[in-house]
Subunit: 255 residues, 4 copies
């Protein structure tokens, strides 16, 4: 049962909307509108502890999950949602030892989730032309201990992918069809290509390109996540929701 | 690049509705309405190959993915869908080394998916009172090489769970609230409990029990998977779909 | 309280899947797998009556609703769903006295629903190039007493619409953008154009044309109808559903 | 082609979020952040006109639709959505001449929509215990010319409904099951009862009561409205949406 250490990340939790992901060493005192929390005093304690702020408000200290971490990555780029990355990981079969291509790196959120699934043996090769995005992603991956399972490449995957015989590929770019040929060369036969397409038009054109370039078993789907307010005698779906993140496109490489 | 071996499983694929998951050694000749496929002749070839049946019909030989395998498990029990198990794996953070509780084993489909994510170091402890279900699950897990990451226990988890400090727990039973106390004892503090609840009433009662028993950050959601027919100039959602599988309930253990 | 007459339509109802819409005079004996029902014996009785078949099976005699009737229209063409036609009627404000354009007539199902809403004073002008469709629609409209509120025109609306100052227009054709100009001439200023578009591409192109041709307040939406199985302690959405019927596009004519 | 009059309501429209429903006589000058609009100058003009504000910003003058009007009603009570009221009107077959029961009146939005569908011959009998709600509803119904098709009753429908042989009934109250018996007495045989139930638990209990009290053909459903952003080459569902309004429950009275 690991204890909280000076170097640990903690999730300070009050409710769905009021929660803070901080590192004890970086945030010795967490100032919130509910009062100040002395994070340093948590060192040596268990996760799952209840604590009081200076205003006597009760907070809970949780160990950040992959989701807690990944949802913090996105800033300048679009977020990748747990529902989508979970589906991609299961459909691509990413697990310990998997070697996975990714373009683009973006915030590094999907990179992190795939690296987490591929650890300790696997590797995510993530290409992005933006040095700025990659610097941000690198910082996040290092902070959360996922950097060793990621190779960041600040280069244009359209010009060629250096890896071969990869187990899976994820494309998260505006023109995914431009990546189909290089991804085809990089994938092992029968391996899965996945893509994140915000618009119908992207999905339509990508599927067409996949058929033209010798991919089979193509599939396009969207996952809609609906929150439910489960309360005794008053259970109902939440009134508002994220209606759309992206279409997910899949296809498998033929020889 | 692994070749097809006599012992390999292959997915013989024609389209979404016509596909067969077989083992070469067990099905030397695959008889389909499209003709007979000589599976033995595939040994030594690459996955991703196109082959002809005796009726000159083209089929494709793919390497079965986790999804292909898991969707074959269910027979007498309800199937667990990739969208749901993907979300559970991501939200629970199941990855190499994770130690996970499960009740009940059922067909072993969720067991297999979690074992796949937890391999090579982790372990799924799966309880089920039905010896018949466990025998079926064991057979499937062994066939697909996932048995070493699963401990099947033919006993009643309500009477107590023997493991401690587990990283996550999945409950897939009709009365999940009856498992909350034993799961609480088995989980590490801050660890995630997940449950699969087909009905609103189950979700409602489970969430109430979770609050009563010291779980926080509870969340109930459903994932709706919508297939899209992406065709040039004619893209639209599929006309029919699986409208509901289950509500997913999550909560984290407080000390 | 109207009684059942020889000329009446009745809905013989057992459950959602087993129900028959018949006219007493045309079906004096209704043969079902639950036995024979003597419909003639119902004359003079109230709707809402329980009756027995020759096999002693209980059935219920209901007065057909608009939905019961309209869902019977479609045969060779796509059905229009109550959810969609309800939204169209409300958004277009079709009510007694409304004068409405429609293309094409198809099965006459939407025609019937709009005529029902526009009766007794209004009129639906429905254009279709197919004489066969219009003959089928006419037969149905006459049978159900809705013909007097419909003017069927076996002509090409693209070549021009003869009416002017209409209150609303519904386009249900594969190339709705081709109708925008003639519909614009036929509509009163500020009036609503509605269209039923099965594919995203149709919706996209139609909206573009609407903008080009001086329509404002364009809106595209889809309605997803989800059935719920409400049973004590076991309430849940139905497992399967119609996932997609069509996108609905709306726009209002500017001067 | 009716012109704008001093007494007319107009919808001043800029886009989905910036629109104002006003009456010329009550708002001679409309002050907006886009400038001032001289509404009086519109008298005698056609709807569908483009006009300029004092800041030279272009606005469009539309004739308010039923939806524009009804969405303005709600203030202290929950809004009824066009998708839901459209479905209710179609399923209940409310049209010119229909006599309809309603409880409660609430903001009068559903009352207005049903009165609009039942006009000019029909009548909505709307019960509500709250004199305040009914005063608000009456004001709105009068303003929009729908009062003559509505009878507001400031009394408790649970204590009895005075009408008989009604064509349909709509229940929009927290405890709809309490209304089933009086509604049953008020409805014509075979007529439809509809109810708006925000929670699963309400739907579940209501359906049970309907079965106990001799209603058949019960049906529970929810309509999910999803907005689509249809833009050339970039079509996709909107990112956020109203995820839930209410479950709709229907049932038909047996003798």
């Amino acid at each position: 049962m690991p204890k909280i250490e000076a170097d640990s990340f903690i999730l300070v939790y009050r409710d769905k909307r009021r929660k803070w992901l901080v590192r004890v060493s970086e945030t010795p005192k967490l100032h919130t509108h509910l009062g100040i929390l002395d994070c340093t005093s948590l060192v040596g304690k268990d996760y799952g502890t209840r604590v009081l702020t200076t205003l006597n408000d009760e907070l809970v200290i949780l160990k950040p999950t992959l989701e807690d971490i990944v949802m913090k990555f996105a800033r300048k780029t679009q977020v990748i949602y747990p529902k989508d990355i979970g589906m991609i990981i299961v459909k691509c079969g990413i697990h310990s030892g998997s070697r996975v291509f990714e373009a683009g790196t973006g915030s590094g959120a999907a990179t992190a989730a795939m690296a987490y699934a591929a650890a300790p043996e696997g590797q995510v090769y993530s290409y992005d032309l933006s040095a700025e995005f990659q610097a941000g992603a690198r910082r996040n991956l290092e902070r959360f201990g996922l950097a060793k399972n990621v190779t960041l490449k600040n280069q244009d995957a359209k010009a060629g992918i250096e890896e071969r015989d990869l187990d899976a590929a994820l494309i998260d770019m505006g023109d995914p069809w431009e990546l189909v040929k290089p991804v085809r060369e990089a994938l092992a036969p029968s391996a899965m290509l996945a893509a994140i397409c915000p618009t119908m038009n992207q999905a339509e054109r990508l599927v067409q390109t996949l058929h033209d370039e010798g991919f089979v078993a193509t599939e396009t789907l969207e996952l809609i996540a609906r929150n439910i307010e489960a309360r005794p005698g008053m259970t109902r779906p939440s009134m508002f929701m994220v209606a759309h993140t992206a279409y997910l496109v899949f296809g498998r490489k033929l020889l």
